[in-house]
């Protein structure tokens, strides 16, 4: 487990979206992926805030791309998951699955 604690819910969503998208992930596809999976509108600013926190923890790395006219001359920032990030995602999955197991209230779909 990385120093700084567990991944938050939104951070975990961002990490999983990054793993799904692979190398060419930047703000727009990441937020679209989360929107597609959750069915809720995602603020791109919140995605960047989460990515910045993840980068500080060493779970994500980024590089700047080339500026384009369609983006008002602004460059894309590409993100990729690091090996620490993958380990952290696995650890979070293991913890959550372990907490999930043996809960009859959640296994049958009713209370």
């Amino acid at each position: 487990m990385a120093r700084g604690g567990y991944l938050g819910e939104f951070e975990l969503m961002v990490v999983l979206a990054l793993i799904r998208l692979g190398e060419d992930a930047y703000g727009v596809p990441i937020s679209r992926e989360i929107e597609k999976r959750t069915g809720r509108e995602v603020a791109i600013g919140s995605v960047y805030a989460a990515l910045e926190r993840l980068e500080e923890k060493g779970l994500v790395a980024s590089r700047l791309g080339e500026p384009t006219a369609a983006r008002g001359g602004r460059a894309k920032r590409y993100f990729r998951i690091t090996s620490n990030g993958l380990n952290e995602a696995r650890e979070t999955q293991r913890t959550l699955v372990s907490l999930w197991q043996g809960l009859p209230e959640l296994s049958g779909g009713g209370l």
């Binding site: 703000g27 937020s31 603020a43 791109i44 600013g45 919140s46 500026p67 006219a69 369609a70 008002g72």
Partner: protein
Amino acid sequence: MNFRQPPKLAVWLLNRLGVTAHNEPLAGDLLEEFRSGRTPGWYWRQAFMAILATFGQRLRAYRQYLLEMFLGWSAETSVVVALWIFHVPLGVHALVLGVSGLATIWVVLYVEYRVRLHLWRNDDSSEEELDELWDRVLGARFVILGYFGYFVLNDAIVVLLDLLPGSGFSPPFIMMCHGCWLCWATIGRLRRTS
């Protein structure tokens, strides 16, 4: 290619509140999405959330400065209140505030250095890193030093005004002045630092 423009006021707010300067790819992403068919309402919501997220990030980044300023402000305010409660002669107010201000700075500085030194020692840090840490601790303390410098000067002025016949400066008014100045100076400092 679609080159329609997003709402001007939203773009102005994004630029004005530092989001664009702080994070250019984010502004580019918003524009790209808008040009791919999103509505002006969507752009407004995203701009608003981006401004909030940036503000939160800055608060997080400067939490140490903010905490220090709060400590300094609390200490200085406590001294001002004590001076009024115990009817300390006005002539010595500036001296008491100056001495207590400097004492607070050094107590905070010393405690923080000891705490950080302890934490970093556990990390097997090198001597160079510890020197760098000391520089950073000293640098951060200059913020609080600046405020105390102002408070001492301001209190000296208020004391002088109070000595004049007919001037009705009350302790709450002085507190209010301090609060306003603190907010203004904090914003200025954060803008310069960023």
